[in-house]
């Protein structure tokens, strides 16, 4: 079973969110889900009269999405969190913590602590990460998926 969600292209995201806002929907939150080694999806949850409406946006690891925080200020915190944990960047964040919302050191695509699949560029170089989510502690689901796929994409943003 899966949740009802409207699949939206990143380019149409802002237009769709504006439409929902004008329809009287309240922004609830966003959820980042890691699908496989290269793909992620972001779910946007909106609520109106206790009914949730979800938008599903596909994005590549280390990719970029337009930020909702200009339209819905409430989104800035969760977008910064996703930037921290999954190293996705958001265009036009009104309050940008530069990947340092939780950790003192900025996270990059190779060190994003919540990703299960890592590019092992800098072996255990981030002391600021929380314990237990280091690249070494591979979850039991899919062992042997170490080799990364987008080694060069994390720089230059």
């Amino acid at each position: 079973m899966s949740i009802e969600a409207l699949t939206v292209a990143p380019a149409d995201l802002l237009a769709e969110a504006t439409r929902l806002k004008n329809d009287g929907y309240r922004f609830v939150t966003m959820t980042s889900v890691e699908l496989d080694q290269t793909n992620m999806e972001i779910l946007y949850h909106f609520d109106k009269d206790l009914v949730l409406k979800n938008l599903r946006v596909a994005v590549e690891k280390g990719g970029k999405l337009p930020s909702l925080s200009g339209l819905l200020f409430g989104a800035f915190l969760v977008e910064n969190e996703i930037r921290d944990q999954y190293a996705l960047t958001f265009d036009g964040l009104v309050l940008d913590y530069q990947g340092k919302l939780y950790a003192e050191t900025a996270q990059t695509a190779s060190s994003s602590p919540f990703c299960k699949y890592h590019v092992k560029a800098e072996p255990d170089a981030k002391p600021g990460n929380q314990p237990g989510t280091q690249p070494g502690n591979q979850p039991g689901t899919q062992p042997g998926t170490q080799p990364g796929t987008q080694p060069g994409t994390q720089e230059g943003k």
Binding site: S2, R26, V28, T29, T31, G74, L77
Partner: protein
């Protein structure tokens, strides 16, 4: 005028929560507030890949101490929905009892801290004295004071016998009387009103647009309470969301005060509807698929996104806690306030930073 930046927190005499605010002041007036988080981030969501879905119950309880029961309730409901089972009626009613007791003691704790934030120590002591009765109820019926750990996938682990039901009802009568005896102090005392009325106003539109949750939203006049979703045993209970329209600190505190009385009423209703029956159904198989569940915590709406892949470990657990939603509104209402009012306003959102960061 020259601007000064005053650091506020993470250690602050009236604020027991590790949040840091950089307050940009012009004279004594706040012009900008920038929250900084990261003092208690534990990465609990990520533990889902290392612990199986049953062990996660105890882990999500530790997202927040005060609303631990409601966190695990939300999580278990999500897993139950994924597995296509429903907890027996008695279990659902018991879940209401304990979750409302949690709401009650959380609100009493907050009201006390709030009184403390403007220096009303005796009210603080009085409220915490009442709260201790609830903690005793929790410990006697479940085994632990705060992290009660009663939820399992499919139902609950603990039960109430006749004498306990009677004892809870008797205690609640006394608790209600002592809470009511403080009503005029909390709502009308001039000390309280001077520090809270008209301070930190969040308009209805702003609250809605900024995605505020819980008493923050209801204090601004939006009647939205996740218990209207009729989860657990709420489908059989009568209740109306508590709404205040002023949107200031006083409104938020009044919402919580009235909600604590409402919780007492809900516990009574749930206890009256308890019928003998099973405590849990057996959960078979592994969770698969994705599900979103929402419950109402003392601080507001809590959203869980769970994704299972048919193994023992969940693929993704995403927890959106109410304080997470209330920090943007906080950052929006702080500018324009007097510096002396900042602690009161920050406390008025009932911040729970370990919830926020998880």
């Amino acid at each position: 005028m020259a601007r000064t930046v005053i650091p506020f927190g993470p250690q602050h005499p009236v604020l027991p929560e590790p949040i840091h605010l950089s307050l940009v002041l012009e004279d004594e007036r706040v012009v900008e507030a920038l929250p900084t988080l990261g003092y208690v981030h534990r990465g609990l969501e990520m533990l889902a890949v290392k612990r199986d879905y049953n062990q996660m119950i105890q882990i999500v309880e530790r997202v927040c101490g005060i609303c631990s029961m409601i966190h695990s309730l939300c999580y278990c409901q999500g897993i139950e929905e994924m597995m296509g089972i429903q907890a027996p009626r008695r279990a659902r009613m018991l879940r209401v009892v304990w979750s409302e007791l949690h709401r009650l003691h959380s609100h009493l704790l907050w009201l006390g801290l709030f009184a403390d934030s403007f220096g009303f120590e005796s009210l603080f002591m009085q409220l915490w004295k009442i709260r201790e009765r609830i903690m005793d109820l929790n410990e006697a019926t479940t085994g632990n004071r705060v992290i009660v750990s009663v939820n399992v996938v499919g139902g609950v682990r603990a039960d109430l016998d006749e004498s306990q039901v009677r004892w809870i009802k008797d205690t609640l009568v006394e608790v209600e009387a002592s809470i009511r005896s403080l009503q005029s102090t909390i709502m009308n005392d001039s000390t309280v009103c001077k520090r809270t009325k008209g301070i930190g106003v969040l308009t209805r539109q702003a609250a809605y647009d900024l995605g505020a949750a819980g008493p923050m939203l209801r204090g601004s006049g939006v009647a939205q309470d996740m218990r209207q979703l009729k989860y657990a045993g709420f489908d059989e209970l009568n209740f109306e969301p508590v709404v205040e329209t002023a949107g200031d600190c006083w409104a938020r505190s009044t919402v919580r005060f009235r909600e604590s009385l409402q919780s007492i009423d809900l516990v009574r209703q749930a206890l009256d509807k308890l019928e003998p029956g099973d405590l849990a159904v057996k959960a078979k198989g592994k969770p698969e698929g994705e599900v979103i569940t929402r419950v109402e915590q003392p601080r507001g709406e809590c959203l869980y996104y769970l994704k299972g892949n048919g193994t023992n470990n969940l693929e993704r657990v995403r927890i959106r806690t109410p304080t997470f939603a209330n920090i943007p509104p906080l950052a929006a209402i702080l500018p324009g306030l007097d510096f002396a009012d900042v602690p009161v306003v920050v406390l008025s959102i009932d911040p729970c930073i370990s919830c926020t960061e998880r």
